[in-house]
Assembly symmetry: C2
């Protein structure tokens, strides 16, 4: 690049021609065809080969069974990924929030389950209107309280919509949901008899079971959850109420969930991406392993002796389960602040220069994805596509 | 509301008239005039009375001194708030990222300093083009490496722009920046002699000093940082290079920063909102106190005996410095997951019903704001305005 320093003035903008005096458009970290080193940072990087293997492994696990796959879209929040999951055989997706469900319906996913209760008149009304607007796409929601169900029924009736409803069963999470089979059967009776609802079955998920580190403990937690779901289902069937769907399970327990004979649907989310925390689980050699496919790419923005500072911090990866880890040897994370990660050299294995790009493995994939506008889909080190994170920040 | 259950059908959308079969517009948590109980959740709530007091306290602190206030916009990422800070007497804002700077310039803030190094050709080029596009608004940036400065100079020259540059001084953070006065003076000489740059001075910020809990330790850390900044300035002045600006300091140390006689600008950010972590600092009765003005509003979405589950989790408030705290008595946080916070009852002080709204105080205001699309500005329990978080997620 030829420099003409003599043309430069001090203290303001040059008065010569200004060919680019326009506001740059929206920032996108990469273009198709870019190499990893060309990607602007911080950027969320998806390894498509690993991602596709992870998708295939779940479909292979349920092949020959009656269990359907309804992946959890709270992990990726991305319409393009949801469509690829459906193309691979998923029946639809789960969402945690109405805002996510809207993004998925808008992305033409035609079977969406909100695995959560919707409380409050304005949000219930929006739920009903969304269901109506996207019909005949299916939209389901959970309930765990008869008063909430009654309010929702009033609103669905006034909006002239019939909603798919599921009872959330507390199978060990001690969070939302009902635990007592008789209570569950009573609520099922109300839902079954309410014309504004189509009672579909049970949502039974234990997040705690997913992260039991040892295989025996994890299997036992999953089997306990399945038994509680089965007891709830049996109490409903005993009242001659149909209970067609038992949906639940997750990445950590999917082998046991499928084998249980209880679940009709499984809801794995993290299997797509994996993360440092899931890697702490003992791998069950009798089930599928999933490989890390998601990374945060950062740039070395400052370098002093054995210290390298990256331009990505806790606004680019979540730290609720610890910092992101370097995907390379010879450096450890000293600390993370809002927009920086400080690495310290531990060996000479990996030399680092100012401006180098560093791949990090997030500790927790779901909240990390939620921090990004774009997923940079790469294959063998080259960008294949850049996908928007459609439901990023849709916490409502 | 009158129900007509007989009109409802099972298993799909009703075939009667569908007056609202349109996709709802973008979700906004509230409208001006709403009461707190009407706000949809999760929502970020600003108490305008407290906020305005906090703004005034900083301006009162510098009144009669030569110290100017350049608040850090990484805290609020909101053009409306930046404009109010400038109206109250701030000379402009700091940003941590180019993306934030673009949002602030776009919001008509005409003096913006990026308190960070910009590394990598594509981002440096975007920086230069942004500076040109918004001129005569000022845009400054930090450097701590002569090679980086040389690359930036080449790009500024090719884009025909003269950029304000500052040297980042490491005054105790051990992150970015140079610590040695002689090294700093050498870099200053290069910047001073480069026509593509206007060398403005030093950026000297120690984040670690802000959170020293005891007053004596915090004061000592701030004074040490100011002394290091002064030594760097003196080394530059000794070479007959002007060094007009020393910018730094923060909410935790602002009294000492102003009193130091070293800083010409202070950069408080969190003082606007405060949070649980800042509340852990011992308050110095010789300086201004700031009050918590920022909350996350959540809805009780599930209730079992002594357990209340809220519809806001770590995708609605950051947990890097611990969970958000209830702003009311009688309940403690048991655990936080992506979209839920589980509260346990500790006394009968505050009865909770399903659907109740709960105010939480975030533990760390900056990354919490970054999770939200909207700031709901309230006064005495009523919504006055809803402001977009313009730079939300702008991590580039």
């Amino acid at each position: 690049m030829a420099l003409d320093w003599t043309a430069a003035e001090r203290g303001g903008v040059l008065k010569e021609f200004r060919p680019r005096r326009t506001i740059p458009g929206d920032w996108v970290p990469a273009q198709a065809g870019d190499l990893l080193k060309d990607i602007d940072t911080p950027a969320l990087i998806l390894d498509l080969d690993k991602f596709e293997e992870n998708v295939s492994r779940v479909m292979a696990l349920v092949a020959g069974t009656k269990v359907r796959v309804r992946p959890h879209a709270k992990t990726h929040k991305c319409g393009e990924i949801a469509r690829r999951q459906v193309e691979a055989g998923a029946i639809g997706v789960c969402c945690q929030k109405l805002g996510e469900a809207e993004a998925m319906l808008s992305a033409k996913v035609n079977d969406v389950l909100i695995t959560n209760e919707i409380v409050g008149e304005s949000k219930m009304r929006r739920l009903a209107r969304v269901a109506l607007a996207y019909a005949p796409a299916r939209l389901g929601v959970c309930v765990d309280n008869v008063e909430n169900a009654r309010q929702l029924a009033v609103i669905c009736a006034s909006e002239q919509v019939v909603l798919d409803v599921y009872i959330e069963v507390d199978v060990g999470q001690n969070r939302c949901g009902l635990a007592e089979p008789l209570q569950i059967a009573e609520l099922a009776m109300f839902l079954h008899n309410t014309p504004a609802f189509h009672f579909r079955g049970l949502h039974a998920y234990s997040g705690l079971a997913q992260h039991r580190r040892g295989v025996p403990e994890r299997r036992a937690a999953a089997e306990g959850a399945a038994q509680r779901a089965a007891a709830a289902r049996d109490a409903i069937l005993a009242r001659n109420i149909p209970c067609d769907t038992i949906t639940g399970g997750g990445t950590g327990t999917i082998t046991y969930d499928v084998a249980s004979g209880v679940y009709t649907e499984v809801q794995p989310g993290s299997y797509l991406f994996m993360d440092v925390d899931y890697s702490r689980n003992e791998r069950d050699t009798n089930g599928p392993g999933f490989d890390v496919a998601l990374f945060v790419l950062a740039t070395v923005m400052s370098l002093q002796e054995d210290r390298a500072t990256l331009d990505a911090g806790l606004k680019s990866f979540s730290t609720d389960l610890g910092p992101a880890h370097p995907a390379f040897e010879g450096w450890r994370v000293r600390n993370v602040s809002d927009e920086h990660t400080v690495l310290m050299r531990t060996s000479e294995t990996t030399p680092i220069k100012l401006g180098d790009k560093a791949l990090l493995v997030p500790s927790h994939c779901d909240p990390t994805v939620n921090l990004h506008e774009w997923i940079v889909a790469t294959r063998k080190g080259r960008v294949e596509a850049v996908w928007p994170v459609d439901a990023r920040g849709k916490v409502y």
